[in-house]
C-alpha cells in the first residue's frame, strides 16, 4: 500500500526542490501506475479496487502538480506551512498589475500589426522571459526563507499562466487562419 502521507516529491523519489528532473518524474510516474493502476486489480474485491482508484488518483494528482511550475511552487510553499487559495488571494503589487495590463493590451493589438505572427512571437518571448525571472525569484526567496515574498511570486505566476494561455490561443487563431 502506498503511503498517502508522504510528499508528492518523495512519492516519485525526487528531492523537495523547485528544479526537478522531468525524465525521472516521468519514469517514476509510469512505474507507480504500473503497480497501482485499477487495471491490475480487475479481479480483486471491491475494497481493493476502490483503493486502486484512490491510489492512482493520488499519483495522477501528484504528477499534475509537479509537472506545472506554478502548482509545484505552490506545493513547496504548502510543505513549508504556507497554504492559500489563489482563486481568492491575489497580488497587490500595483506596478506589476499595471505591467500585466500593458502586456494584455499588446496582445489585443497584435492582429492590427504589420506581421501579426512575428509580433506575437516577440510578445510570447517577453512573457516567457519574465515568467522565468519570476521562477528564479521564487527559488531565491524560498531558499532565503522569505515565505511571504515567495508566496507573492506564486500569486504572480498565475497572471503569467493566463497571459501564456492567451498568447497561445491567439497564435493558434492566427496560424489556423493562415493554414
Amino acid at each position: 500500500m502506498l503511503d498517502f502521507k508522504q510528499s508528492y516529491f518523495k512519492l516519485f523519489g525526487l528531492a523537495e526542490e523547485f528544479e526537478i528532473d522531468f525524465t525521472k518524474l516521468g519514469s517514476a510516474f509510469r512505474e507507480l501506475q504500473a503497480k497501482y493502476h485499477p487495471d491490475r486489480f480487475i479481479n480483486a474485491d471491491d475494497n481493493e479496487r476502490l483503493a486502486a482508484v484512490q491510489t492512482t488518483g493520488l499519483i495522477n494528482e501528484a504528477n499534475e502538480t509537479l509537472k506545472s511550475s506554478r502548482l509545484r511552487a505552490r506545493y513547496l510553499l504548502k510543505l513549508a506551512g504556507v497554504e492559500f487559495d489563489d482563486e481568492i488571494d491575489t497580488t497587490s503589487d500595483g506596478a506589476f498589475l499595471m505591467h500585466q495590463m500593458e502586456m494584455r493590451e499588446a496582445l489585443e493589438e497584435v492582429s492590427s500589426a504589420n506581421d501579426p505572427l512575428a509580433r506575437i512571437d516577440d510578445i510570447a518571448q517577453e512573457i516567457s522571459g519574465e515568467a522565468d525571472a519570476l521562477k528564479d525569484d521564487f527559488v531565491e526567496q524560498l531558499e532565503a526563507g522569505n515565505l511571504d515574498a515567495a508566496k507573492e511570486a506564486v500569486l504572480k505566476m498565475k497572471f503569467f499562466e493566463r497571459l501564456c494561455q492567451e498568447s497561445k490561443s491567439l497564435t493558434e487563431k492566427l496560424e489556423d487562419a493562415l493554414f
Binding site: 516521468g26 501506475q33 504500473a34 485499477p38 482508484v53 495522477n60 494528482e61 504528477n63
Partner: protein, 626 residues
C-alpha cells in the same frame, strides 16, 4: 465451423493453456459493431455464420417481443421503419431535452414517459437506446461464446474519446443488461493505438502516436505517448459534426446542381457509391435519372479539400494541447472507413510528413485493440507490461454564483483522478447548498452538459463565507464520475454516484415532452409525406425502366400517351405536394392506369419463362424495391 469445435462443457480446447480466460473486445459502433478476441498470439475479429465480421448496429423489434439484430434487421428497415432502430448509439446517455437536436435525423418514433431518458416506441413496447445497445451486445456475446466454446469472463468495450460521463454510464448500463462483465471502457483511439503499438517492437524508448479517426459522422484525433508498454493519452480533440457523410453531401450537391434535379435521396445514395468507387478508380461515371456524367478523382479531391483541411486543423490543435510539434509524431494510425479515401491518406501523410499506417483494416482496428487489452486484463498475459492511461475528454466543474462554471478537473487530465475544491456559503445562515455538476469547456451553465444536481443539507447556520464545503470529484479508470460534498466544520456529508440529470426540473421535462409530442405529430406527418414521395419515385422508376425495355413492342401510340400523361401527373404532384394522402392517391391512380401494361408484361414474362428463358428481369414493381 462451430460444429467442428465440440468440447465437453467447461473443458477448454487442448491447444489452449488450461487457465486461459475467455475475454473479448467489443467496438460498439453507431453504424456497425464488431467483436474481436485473442487466439494464440493474434487478435482477430469474429465473423457471423455468413462470414461477416461487421454487425450492423440495427435492432428490429417484432410483435411478440422478439428481436432481429444486424443484417436481417437492416434488410427489413425500409419495410418496418418504426420498429427497426438504427444509430441508437447517438441516443446513449442523451436526455429527452436532446431530442430536438438529434431527433430530426432519427427515423423512429418517440413515446412520452416520466423518464428523462428518451423512449422509442415500437410494436413490442417502449425501448431505450440502452436496451437497443444491449441487444447488439448480446448478439456479439453469443457470437463469441459460440466461437470460443465457453462463457466470456469479461469484455472491454470501446467508446468515443469525446463521450461524456452520461454516455459512458449508459454504455456500461447496456453491458449490464446484456449480462456482460465489463473489465474496462476504453477510448476508441487508444484501442487503435494499442492494435498498432504492440505490433511494432522498436528500439525507441518513447514514441508519439497520432490516431486519426474519421468515421461516418465524427472526426477524432488523439495524441498518445508510448513508453515501455505504457500508453499515455496526451490530448484528444476533433469535430463531432464532421465525418464521411459530409463527403457524400459534397458529391450529392454537385450531382444535384449539375443534373438540375432535386432527387436528393437518390443523389445521396449515388454520391456514396461514387465516393467508394473513387477509392480504387481515377474516374467514375455518375447518373441520376436521365442525367449522366462522370467525376474524376482530382475533381473530387478538390471538392472535399476544405473538409480534409478542417480535420488537419483539429490535428494542429491536438498537437498544441499536447505541447508537441508534428515532427515529433512517430506513427500516424488511421481508423474508420472514411480513411480509405486516397485524398485523406495523402493529406494526412503530407501534414505529418510520413505515410499513415493502414495495414490493419480501419473498420476493425478498434475492436482488435480492445481485444488485446481485454486479454491482458483477463490475466492471460501476466508478463505484459501494457498499461493504458486515458484522459478525461471534457472538463468537469461546478456551478458557481451567477450561472458560471468553475472547472475542478480540466480536460486531458489523466484518469483516475481525485480532486477536491472548497466552496463557501454566500448568505448568512444558509443551511443548504445545491451542488450542480457540469461537463464541458464553456463558461456558463447553459452551455455545458449538466451531469447531476444534488443538495447538501444540514449546514449549521453561520455567517456568509464561514462554512467550508469541500466537494470531491473522483473519476475512475472508465471515466465515470463520483462526487462527494462535505461541510468540513461539522462533517455533514452528501455522496452521490453521478446519474445523468440533464439539468432539467420535472416541470421542464414535462414541458419538453409536451413540445416533443406536438412536434411528434408534425414529424409523423412529414415522415409520411417523405415515405409517399419515395414510394412515388419508386413507381416512376419502375415505369420508366419497364417502358425503356419494352414499350416500343408492347404499347401502341395511344397507350403510350396515356401512360406518359399519368406519369407526368404523378411527377407533378410528387414534386409539389405537401400532403401525403394526395401523393398516395396519385400513386394509386398511376398504378391503375398502368394496370393493363403490367398485366401484359406479366403474360409476356410467363411466356418467356415457359420457353425456358431467364425471368430474372421480371419488372414487377415490387422486385425493384431496394
Amino acid at each position: 465451423m462451430a460444429l467442428f469445435q465440440i468440447t465437453e462443457p467447461g473443458q477448454s480446447s487442448p491447444s489452449e493453456p488450461q487457465e486461459k480466460q475467455l475475454a473479448a473486445g467489443i467496438d460498439l459502433g453507431t453504424t456497425n459493431s464488431l467483436v474481436a478476441t485473442v487466439r494464440g498470439d493474434e487478435a482477430e475479429t469474429l465473423a457471423d455464420e455468413q462470414g461477416d465480421a461487421l454487425l450492423p448496429s440495427i435492432v428490429r423489434y417484432l410483435e411478440d417481443g422478439a428481436t432481429e439484430v444486424g443484417t436481417s434487421a437492416k434488410n427489413s428497415q425500409l419495410d418496418d421503419i418504426d420498429n427497426t432502430i438504427s444509430s441508437a448509439k447517438r441516443l446513449l446517455g442523451r436526455g429527452v431535452g436532446d431530442l430536438k437536436t438529434l431527433g430530426g435525423a432519427l427515423p423512429y418514433k418517440f413515446a412520452t414517459s416520466d423518464s428523462s431518458v428518451p423512449q422509442i416506441k415500437t410494436i413490442a413496447g417502449n425501448v431505450t437506446a440502452i436496451e437497443v445497445s444491449a441487444e447488439i451486445l448480446k448478439t456479439l456475446k453469443w457470437r463469441t461464446e459460440d466461437a470460443l466454446g465457453g462463457e466470456l469472463k469479461g469484455v472491454v468495450i470501446t467508446v468515443p474519446a469525446y463521450f461524456d460521463d452520461a454516455q459512458r454510464q449508459a454504455t456500461k448500463d447496456a453491458a449490464r443488461l446484456a449480462d456482460l462483465n465489463v473489465f474496462r471502457l476504453l477510448n476508441e483511439p487508444t484501442a487503435a493505438a494499442v492494435a498498432y503499438g504492440l505490433d511494432q517492437e522498436e528500439e525507441l524508448d518513447e514514441k508519439i502516436i497520432a490516431v486519426y479517426d474519421l468515421g461516418g459522422g465524427t472526426f477524432d484525433i488523439s495524441i498518445l505517448k508510448l513508453n515501455k508498454g505504457v500508453f499515455e493519452v496526451m490530448a484528444t480533440g476533433g469535430d463531432s459534426a464532421l465525418g464521411g457523410d459530409d463527403f457524400d453531401h459534397v458529391i450529392a450537391e454537385w450531382i444535384l446542381k449539375e443534373s438540375n434535379s432535386d432527387l436528393t435521396h437518390h443523389a445521396m445514395s449515388e454520391a456514396r457509391r461514387v465516393k467508394e468507387a473513387l477509392t480504387s478508380s481515377d474516374e467514375v461515371s455518375v447518373a441520376l435519372g436521365d442525367w449522366k456524367s462522370s467525376l474524376s478523382r482530382s475533381q473530387f479531391d478538390e471538392m472535399v479539400e476544405p473538409l480534409v483541411k478542417s480535420t488537419l486543423l483539429a490535428c494542429r490543435r491536438a498537437l498544441r494541447d499536447a505541447d508537441l510539434s508534428k515532427e515529433q509524431v512517430h506513427d500516424v494510425v488511421m481508423v474508420g472507413g472514411s480513411t480509405r479515401m486516397p485524398i485523406v491518406r495523402e493529406k494526412v501523410g503530407v501534414f505529418f510528413d510520413k505515410p499513415p499506417l493502414v495495414n490493419i483494416d480501419p473498420d476493425k482496428v478498434v475492436a482488435i485493440g480492445a481485444a488485446l487489452q481485454a486479454d491482458v486484463l483477463a490475466g492471460n498475459k501476466p508478463d505484459a507490461e501494457m498499461l493504458l492511461l486515458d484522459v478525461i475528454p471534457l472538463s468537469l466543474g461546478l456551478e458557481t454564483y451567477g450561472g458560471l462554471v468553475e472547472k475542478v478537473i480540466a480536460r486531458n487530465t489523466t484518469i483516475p483522478i481525485t480532486r477536491a475544491q472548497e466552496f463557501t456559503t454566500f448568505k448568512d445562515n444558509q443551511t443548504a447548498m445545491t451542488v450542480h455538476i457540469l461537463q464541458g469547456e464553456r463558461e456558463t451553465v447553459e452551455e455545458n452538459r449538466s451531469l447531476a444536481k444534488f443538495a447538501l443539507k444540514g449546514i449549521p447556520p453561520m455567517v456568509a463565507g464561514a462554512a467550508r464545503i469541500k466537494v470531491t470529484f473522483q473519476v475512475d479508470a472508465d471515466g465515470l464520475l463520483n462526487v462527494e460534498a462535505e461541510e468540513e466544520t461539522t462533517g455533514v456529508k452528501s455522496n452521490i454516484e453521478v446519474k445523468p440529470s440533464y439539468g432539467l426540473s420535472d416541470n421542464e421535462i414535462e414541458g419538453m415532452i409536451r413540445d416533443s409530442m406536438d412536434n411528434a405529430q408534425a414529424d409523423m406527418e412529414a415522415r409520411r409525406l417523405r415515405e409517399q414521395k419515395v414510394e412515388a419515385d419508386r413507381t416512376l422508376e419502375a415505369l420508366d425502366s419497364a417502358m425503356k425495355s419494352d414499350a416500343d413492342k408492347m404499347l401502341n401510340a395511344d397507350e403510350m400517351k396515356l401512360l406518359l400523361e399519368a406519369r407526368e401527373q404523378l411527377q407533378t404532384i410528387k414534386d409539389s405536394s405537401e400532403d401525403a394522402e394526395e401523393v398516395k392517391t396519385a400513386i394509386k391512380h398511376m398504378e391503375k392506369v398502368a394496370e393493363f401494361y403490367v398485366a401484359r408484361r406479366m403474360d409476356d414474362n410467363v411466356k418467356t419463362a415457359m420457353q425456358g428463358q431467364n425471368v430474372s428481369d421480371f419488372a414487377d414493381k415490387d422486385n425493384q424495391k431496394r
